[in-house]
């Protein structure tokens, strides 16, 4: 910094004292942090957590096995297996895999579903120790989510 010696002394003393007093005043303020995991934040409704397949009133899955979500996923995290039962024309879902290790939680699958059969829950604590446990299937999709 190009300034004269005495100017520097004056700026120096005044800024140092102001900085010290300001940091002391913050020492007396209330902290703003939450102590996770004892206290958890309130999550917004629209939060895009892990995936859940919806069921209707009779307990059946709403999914019509059209394959839109599988096609649109940018990370190829969804895989589904369908079958056509005897004598019916419409396809049904036999197995549904969501790999949470690949999923980027973007929400495009939820947007693209024509019957609103898939949604995001607000669960974000999905960490596992083994990679295989990250792949959710039809039976664990319901149990893992709140």
């Amino acid at each position: 910094m190009k300034a004269s010696y005495f100017e520097k002394v004056k700026i120096g003393v005044s800024t140092i004292i102001k900085g010290l007093l300001l940091s002391f005043s913050y020492l007396l303020k209330k902290p703003v942090t939450l102590q996770y995991p004892h206290e958890k934040k309130v999550i917004a409704e629209r939060y895009r957590g892990s995936i859940r397949l919806k069921r209707n009133e009779t307990g059946e899955l709403k999914c019509i096995a059209c394959g839109n979500c599988e096609r649109i996923c940018p990370a190829s995290a969804i895989k589904m297996e369908t079958f056509t039962p005897e004598g019916e024309k419409k396809k049904k879902l036999s197995e549904y895999y969501v790999d949470l290790g690949l999923c980027i939680y973007c929400g495009l699958c939820v947007d693209s579903c024509p019957v609103d059969a898939i949604e995001h829950s607000i669960v974000y604590e999905v960490a596992e120790v083994e990679k295989d446990k990250l792949v959710l299937r039809l039976d664990t999709l319901g149990e893992k989510n709140a």
Partner: protein, 320 residues
């Protein structure tokens, strides 16, 4: 302890126990204080899990560090590398000898107590250079070289600033200096106090003078290659030095153990930890200086100011 019990043997045992106790408790307490003060300045809470508000966090960290693997890299100097942490650490223990914790609690009341204190503290510089050189690492060497330049340069303002105190007290004996402080020397020598604190922070290698151990600069510092217990020793040496520098500041400027009502030892620790708090507070408020600005600051600002202070002190003393 010279006057505490009759026999020399018991005096020595008591001194050793006393110094080890102070040193251990200080290591635990000062680290906890630093973490809590820094956390509250930054609007967060600091350690809370272990013990009541994290009181035994330092002990837990110490146990963790003892359990870590001691890695010795390949090309290091086999004799100097393990020796360096201890050379940085032992002078701190030696410096406890002259500190007057109260009237009777002083290990040895040397005639040249002040001179002894500042001479022993220079030995730590050799330890730092040994650590940097023996590490066989470009960055450690650069960190160590900068640290030596800084340590040697800042010795001078420290000595010059306490010369004023010595002239007023007319003695190098620490118990005499405390005895003559009917008015605290802080009132008589305010400029010297400020110079002493600034130069002491530089000697401790703490922000804003912590270029040698800067983590976010390009060089990683002289203690990079050390792990586990050896790193713990460097760490403890820094906090012990902080306590010793603060203890010397209370003895010289704040009236030592003198004070009403409470027992002298308690006053001593209160004043010492107030200075420790000041040193911690300065660390978290400011960025660090560039090495050449650091040297400029010492030679062009602190030393002229200290000399001026000395001149004015002798002038005033001669007149009155």
């Amino acid at each position: 302890m010279a006057a505490l019990t009759g026999s020399i043997f018991f005096n020595i045992i008591l001194s050793i126990i006393g110094v080890m106790a102070v040193f251990t408790i200080n290591a635990l307490f000062a680290v906890w204080l630093e973490r809590k003060v820094s956390a509250h300045i930054q609007l967060r809470l600091g350690p809370m899990e272990v013990g009541f508000h994290g009181a035994i966090q330092s002990a837990a960290d110490g146990i963790k560090l003892i359990g870590k693997e001691i890695i010795t890299p390949q090309g290091v100097d086999k004799k100097l590398f393990p020796l360096a942490p201890y050379l940085v650490f032992f002078p701190s223990l030696l410096m406890f000898v002259v500190i007057p914790f109260s009237e009777k609690l002083q290990v040895q009341d040397l005639n040249i107590g002040l001179l002894y204190f500042f001479s022993i503290s220079c030995i730590a510089t050799i330890g730092i250079f040994m650590a940097g050189w023996a590490s066989n690492n470009k960055y450690s060497l650069m960190g160590a070289v900068r640290s030596i330049a800084q340590s040697i340069a800042y010795e001078i303002p420290i000595i010059l600033s306490i010369l004023g105190v010595i002239i007023i007290a007319q003695s190098l004996k620490l118990s005499d200096i405390v005895a003559r402080q009917d008015i605290w020397f802080l009132v008589l020598q305010p400029v010297a106090f400020i110079i002493y604190i600034i130069a002491a922070i530089a000697e401790l290698n703490r922000t804003p003078f912590d270029i040698p151990e800067a983590e976010s600069e390009l060089v990683a510092g002289f203690h990079t290659e050390y792990s586990g217990m050896r790193f713990a020793i460097f760490f403890m040496a820094e906090y012990t030095n902080m306590f010793l520098v603060a203890a010397m500041a209370t003895t010289l400027f704040l009236g030592g153990w003198r004070g009403p009502i409470l027992p002298p030892v308690v006053w001593f620790f209160i004043k010492t930890y107030a200075i420790v708090f000041l040193i911690i507070w300065v660390r978290w408020a400011f960025p660090r200086l560039r090495p050449d600005q650091l040297m400029n600051f010492c030679w062009k600002f602190l030393i002229p100011l200290a000399l001026l202070n000395l001149l004015v002190t002798t002038f005033v003393l001669k007149l009155f």
